[in-house]
Subunit: 250 residues, 2 copies
């Protein structure tokens, strides 16, 4: 989300905390390499060591964790502004695989250069840190969801997250947004079978909570969906306090 202002250029003012003032942007956009991928290609392989940071500029990606026995689980979906390979040590291996869902453009910045820019730029540095905090928060939330929600709730939660993340960047209209993932990909993210995911989605449709067709998601009643999914959007931007959810005493 660090560079979420880049593609649309709409956050450039009024939000002091976010960094999208053009001089910061230019630090990278003057010197970077852009690279394009088609859908269903692999950008990074689990175990790779690269000297670059990857900034997703256009398109959607999927970050997966592979197990020795071949199974794999999606850890997060990426959309423009997301970063990969943020471990700035020169030869740090990544412990996930990143592949494209749609056609994708990424900006590649050398880690050395990236570090140099950060060092000379406290506000960029702070934004970078915030970005990292947000990733961790999302990942924690995802852990929670997988651990304690049932199938319907999980899928609903994913819909909520994707919808809200797009709303943040102004990517929603009339309760609808882009949703390029197939049911198989949803399944991998929710730790379910593709078949069961299908039945789950049908269930959500029948209840009138969502519509999903031709790569678009329509959420007519977000509140209802969020209630079902126990979704709490507080974690996405660290600004709003999350609800102080009751939690059984240990």
């Amino acid at each position: 989300m660090l560079f979420s202002g880049l593609p649309t250029r709409q956050e450039s003012k009024g939000d002091v905390q976010r960094l999208s003032s053009s001089d910061l942007v230019m630090h990278f956009f003057g010197q970077q390499t852009l690279q394009s991928y088609r859908a269903h290609e692999t950008i990074l392989n689990q175990g790779d060591c690269t000297g670059y940071v990857f900034i997703l500029v256009r398109g959607w990606t999927e970050r997966r964790l592979g197990l020795p026995d071949g199974r794999c689980q999606t850890l997060s979906f990426g959309m423009p502004g997301d970063l990969y390979c943020t471990d700035l040590r020169a030869r740090a291996p990544v412990n996930y695989t990143v592949s494209t869902i749609t056609p994708v453009t990424i900006a590649i910045v050398g880690k050395l250069e990236f570090r140099a820019v950060l060092t000379g730029n406290p506000s960029l540095s702070r934004a970078f840190w915030r970005e990292q905090q947000a990733s961790l928060a999302i990942q924690q939330r995802w852990t929670g969801m997988l651990g304690l929600l049932g199938a319907t709730e999980k899928v609903a939660h994913l819909f909520c997250e994707i919808y809200k993340r797009q709303e943040h960047r102004g990517g929603t209209r009339d309760g609808a947004c882009v949703f390029p993932m197939t049911q198989t990909q949803i399944a991998r993210a929710c730790g379910l079978t593709q078949v069961h995911t299908n039945r789950t989605i049908q269930d959500l449709r029948r209840r009138g909570l969502i519509a999903l067709r031709s790569r678009r998601l329509v959420v007519s009643d977000f509140e209802a969906l969020a209630r079902l999914a126990q979704y709490d959007c507080g974690y996405l931007d660290g600004e709003n306090a999350p609800t102080k959810a009751a939690c059984a005493t240990v």
Copy 2:
């Protein structure tokens, strides 16, 4: 893990990447406030906004995510050296609850002060960043394990993780280590029922993979346990490359 050298003082040399040189340590240990808790107390509440960073100095903690409906899921276990509240913005809310498993001592450092020290100290700053990366890696791994492992594998995976994390700080002897969590707490971490966790542990015992009694875990054959759990220790220290696990093509 940032300050993992503190309690035992055994990493102070030879490891350039880790920071435990006493001058760095003193930055905090000269000025901090120490605070003690008994077992089963709450240190931080989901939704709290504090101006402090918490450094776990002694004991074990549990970080939980609570849902509106009261259910909760453990996100990670904390042991000496772990940090909480690393979002350095003054009034950032935490989106998890931290409570003690054993008696605990924590060091409390004001965020302003913490930031100031970081700013003047690139190597500490880098270590802090690494620490954050490690948390994210652990959280990703946890997400993966909840999503795709079965009950037995999950529990085995948790045992592997706890064992390895202690091994890193020299906390193991003859394949044994401290393990203060109850079966209920294990269950909350693995997204299982306490009852089912119990049967699962019995199963692991019967197979001769572990022994667990009076708050100690004995792992006679780590390799076997790791194989069952699909455990790959590469992610704990970013130094070793994780295995390039095969991952089905998208």
